[in-house]
Homo-oligomer: 162 residues x 2
Amino acid sequence: MRIGELSARTGASRRSLRYYEQQGLLVSTRSSSGQRCYDEEHVRRVALIQVFLAAGMSSRTIAQLIPCMTRPSTDRARRALAAMDEERSRLSSAIDSLAAAREALDHLIDVNRKFLANVADDSAPDGPDRHSGLFPVGRPDAARAQQIALAAILRDPPGPGR
Amino acid sequence: MRIGELSARTGASRRSLRYYEQQGLLVSTRSSSGQRCYDEEHVRRVALIQVFLAAGMSSRTIAQLIPCMTRPSTDRARRALAAMDEERSRLSSAIDSLAAAREALDHLIDVNRKFLANVADDSAPDGPDRHSGLFPVGRPDAARAQQIALAAILRDPPGPGR
DNA sequence: CTAAACGCTGACATCGATGTCAAGGGCAAG
DNA sequence: CTTGCCCTTGACATCGATGTCAGCGTTTAG
């Protein structure tokens, strides 16, 4: 199969497929006229690459993880294993970050819902001006809920080392 | 407190703090000579921004979620709520992506471990050359495990619309 | 008063995956 | 042979958060 079909079957653009090859993630055989030829194996390979890329891995990292173009070697496997472990923990903490953000978002949603409900109850909910409150809320208990939410977020502070 | 202290307390660089302000995520009062002044509220605000940024939200999105610089308005709250719901589902699917990648990685780790174990058992494990096998493995059962793993990954195909 | 440390603005650089365009070659159907 | 579609390589553009530097003002400690 040529690049167009692989592209259609994987959803990766032709451009991306050539890029993957350039980065050493994919190897293609070439037809006599220089066109790339792929087989079923490549479809699966590309799918895996997409999974990893979607997870925010760099192509550099993926290239370490998937010794695709060379013969297996014990050395390579050992180094790959190390990279995999490292990457696994990176993924885990990324998941934690996302979960934390989602939780924070849930609190904001909650507070926002309460705010709207209060407005429905009472069209002039609070004092005139909350200059820079973290989230505009008309009720002290909502403000308190927000404080608790933030405390939960900040329990595990982001830390200076980005 | 001035920008240096806020930076030290949040771990965000001065550059980033100015950027947040420029993007409308942060409002500062200014001293008579034009220096930015912050209070405790801002520390929490920046922490929240960091949580969201770490989750891959764009500053544009965050600006929609946190109506920080204006007085609360019902309209704004409604629109923010819509954006929040959208963003929440984006976060959820991002978490799913990461989890899928981690699972795939776990399988690779497993296969790799088996490969190394085999090598230890038997220093010439398999045929001489597996030109483009998805993962270099010397045992048919490992190959089978890998197939199953990939099937699991591909159960929910990435789809053409990136 | 002076020097050091800090702050301000503005500009330019970076990284990585991808889009897009140009100029040309390959191949199949009419 | 021509037309149309697919392929090739190479180059340049993009986006967003951040780094970094320059040139200049402010604040603070000695």
